[in-house]
């Protein structure tokens, strides 16, 4: 399995990285907080840790730590607009249940 970015997500990430002026890629992860157990994290990466797994999708380097990978393997990250709001969306096949707003989930 792997983690992938849609073309629109990849374009946005490239823009953001270029604007930021530094960073090697994008880190996807999960934290054990939130109303339904786990929450996604999305961060810029300045340096890799030894245990990290790296993927490449549409020209963007995606970095995941091994603990997070088991929960999000197979995820496709998309960039969408909803009304005036815009942002990244996790399409994660492992998810069984989400909280109302979708910010946290269980597997």
């Amino acid at each position: 399995m792997a983690i992938t970015l849609t073309q629109s997500a990849a374009n946005r990430v490239e823009t953001f990285l270029a604007n930021r002026g530094k960073g090697v890629g994008l880190r996807l992860g999960v934290k054990t907080t939130g109303c339904s157990g786990m929450a996604y994290t999305l961060e810029f990466v300045d340096e890799l840790n030894e245990e990290d797994t790296a993927f490449e999708s549409n020209g963007v380097k995606i970095i995941v730590d091994p603990k997070s990978l088991v929960y999000i393997d197979g995820t496709e990250l998309d960039f969408t607009k909803e009304g005036l709001n815009e942002g990244f969306k996790f399409n994660n096949p492992n998810v069984k249940d989400e909280c109302g707003c979708g910010e946290s989930f269980t597997v």
Binding site: C35, L42, E43, F44, G83, L84, C101, E103
Partner: protein
């Protein structure tokens, strides 16, 4: 599901705890709101894709309020209830504004719940929705921007950075804050507009430099000179012309149309039509060599003209030149030459005009920064600052703390607070003040650092205490203790005390802004305004008590040394006065204490004269007249 943004490494927010913060450019003509998403600052547009919100508020017949483009359309139809350029009235009194220039019904100020902190000086406008203060009108604009931001970001805002002109005084800044509070916005900080523009260009990442911010908006021109040192911007000088802007360029084209077409003065409809055609032509000429102006007037007359760039430049040459005079003045006030300027930032839609850019480039002998949208640059910079203040960046990113929110000082004898650094001083700052000892032979001094605007230490916030020991024994008042307060760019305060003859020194470092929320600062400030009179009395009482204590101390020391010089009866009389003063000293009446001090002075007059004689005869006894150096 929720939409996520990319955070800085290690700064991911917990679910439902996103620190959404925005920057707001509350402009005279237009306002904007911007935010930082995934590290990129961008302006938030409304449902129709408009980034700019005209700063126009219309009070409708049905009691509702309209803000923006729809309100702007009403300005000629319902002028009394459509408020434009309310920023010009913020924190201003009736005497500060030219009433004849505005269509509004200005009224004397009355204090209401919403404006009580600024009511004393601010003008109000009568509308069909009642009497409105500029604060209330501005808050309508801010509310509209807040709703737009919350819709765009999908959550509640933790706060906003709102920009104000660098020349705004305390009343105008306070009015802006009140407007935000009324709109339900937590103000993270007010930021000077030129500083925001400099931040948008990332100039704060350089270590130091001097920058000129050239801001030609719709109706106002502002020039600011900023000095950056250690990541903090200091405003060196500001100047400008409050009646010069892009609208004047439209007016020139309008006049040219009338002249070229040999038109008589037009009615209101034609004037509006021709002005909007003039504006279109101006904007077209930014990227094209010539503009076509054609329209059908109300009397059936057809206008069809072509305006070339060269003609446009000639028509408006003196307007462009008019911006250089305030620029020269600002440079002179800052004591700088053109060669010392490290960069020029262009702000305001009117700076898109090529002739403006060319003139500025020629004047400063360097190309101005223009790659960000000049309409948005201030809002973009405010958003970057809001993002830092909301805590979305790591601590390593420097916080732009440009002024001291509350005065810093120390406790002096009698529980009085002596201010050393006054509030609103720009950072970094260092101030020194000299103090002395109160008792003969005093060898140590306790230094109590306090923060606040009140006169008594007990009403201020205690920050730190330390002691200066090893002062050589001297008579009271002879020691010179130099206390230096230094606040660095991070808002860190260090206080050092040094006795100048012996060079003994002690110091301490404190962080004054720690733990003080904006609300606490505000309530401390309000308390200082409300209790100004009581504080003054308390200070006078404390000072009188200190005086009384000092004279009692001195007379007792004299009696102990020289009581042989006076009769027992005189001695008893003096002691009685001391007793009386000691008792009165504990009362609450400064005047009575002063009188008792005076009484003791009189009672000791003969004694003082006797002591003087005695010490002179001691000094001269057995000495040859020639050996005395007179």
């Amino acid at each position: 599901m929720a939409l996520l943004q990319i955070s800085e490494p290690g700064m991911s927010a917990a679910p439902h705890q996103h620190k959404l913060a925005v920057g707001i450019d509350l402009g005279t003509t237009n306002s904007l709101v911007a935010t930082v998403r995934s590290g990129l600052s961008s302006v938030l547009s409304d449902e129709h894709g408009h980034a700019l919100l005209p700063s126009v508020v219309h009070y409708l017949k049905d009691g509702s309020v309209d803000v923006g483009f729809s309100a702007q359309k009403q300005q000629n139809l319902d002028p009394h209830n459509t408020i434009l350029s309310v920023k010009r009235f913020m924190g201003r009194g009736l005497k500060d504004i030219d009433v004849s220039m505005s269509p509004y019904h200005f009224v004397e100020t009355t204090s209401t719940e919403a404006n009580k902190s600024t009511a004393n000086q601010m003008v109000q406008i009568e509308t069909r929705a009642g009497i409105k203060s500029p604060v209330e009108i501005s808050s309508e604009i801010l509310k509209t921007l807040k709703i737009r931001a919350e819709k765009s970001l999908g959550g509640e805002l933790v706060g906003a950075v709102i920009t104000v002109p660098a020349y705004f005084d305390d009343a105008q800044r306070q009015a802006t804050k009140d407007a935000a509070r009324l709109a339900g916005i937590n103000v993270l900080r007010l930021l000077n507009e030129p500083t925001a523009a400099a931040v948008a260009y990332g100039l704060d990442n350089a270590s130091e430099g001097v920058y000129v911010i050239y801001d030609l908006g719709g109706g106002t021109f502002d020039i600011s000179i900023l000095k950056l040192s250690k990541g903090v911007f200091e405003v060196l000088a500001t100047n400008g012309d409050s009646a010069l802007g892009g609208d004047d360029f439209d007016q020139r084209i309008f006049c040219w149309i009338l002249e070229s077409s040999k038109l008589s003065p037009r009615n209101a409809y034609d004037t509006r039509l021709l002005l909007s055609k003039a504006r279109e032509a101006k904007e077209w000429l930014t990227e094209h060599a010539e503009a076509n102006i054609s329209c059908l007037l109300s009397d059936g007359e057809f206008v069809n003209l072509t305006l070339s760039t060269d003609q446009f430049i000639t028509l408006t040459a003196n307007l462009v030149q008019k911006t250089l005079s305030p620029t020269r003045k600002a440079l002179r006030d800052a004591g700088l030459t053109i060669e010392e300027i490290n960069g020029i930032v262009m702000v305001g839609g009117a700076t898109r005009m090529p002739q403006i850019r060319k003139t500025v480039a020629e004047y400063f002998k360097q190309t101005p920064l223009t790659n960000l949208d000049p309409d948005k640059v201030v809002a973009l910079g405010a958003a970057i600052q809001a993002n830092v203040l909301a805590g979305n960046k790591s601590d390593a990113d420097l916080l732009l703390l440009d002024v001291i929110p509350l005065s810093l000082g120390l406790e002096t004898f009698g529980g009085l607070a002596e201010k050393v650094i006054h509030r609103n001083s720009t950072l970094p700052v260092a101030r020194a003040q000299e103090f002395t000892t109160y008792k003969d032979g005093q060898t140590a001094m306790s230094i109590h650092v306090v923060q606040g605007e009140r006169e008594l230490v007990s009403d201020c916030r205690s920050l730190a205490r330390f002691e200066l020991r090893g002062i050589p024994p001297m008579v009271a008042g002879a020691a010179r203790i130099r206390v230096t307060f230094t606040v660095d760019a991070d808002g860190l305060l260090s206080v050092s005390a040094r006795e100048t003859s012996s060079n003994v020194e002690a110091n301490i470092t404190v962080k004054p802004s720690y733990g003080l929320s904006e609300d606490e600062i505000t309530s401390m400030l309000k308390a200082s305004f409300n209790s100004a009179e009581a504080d003054k009395k308390a200070r006078m009482l404390a000072e009188a008590r200190v005086d009384a204590g000092a004279i009692i101390e001195a007379v007792r020391a004299a009696l102990a040394a020289d009581s042989a010089l006076i009769s027992e009866q005189e001695k008893l009389a003096i002691e009685a006065e001391i007793q009386r003063l000691s008792a009165i000293k504990e009362t609450q009446d400064a005047d009575e204490i002063h009188q008792a001090v005076e009484a003791l002075n009189q009672a000791t007059e003969a004694f003082a004269a006797a002591r003087m004689d005695a010490s002179i005869s001691r000094a001269f006894a057995g000495k040859d007249l020639d050996s005395i150096n007179l």
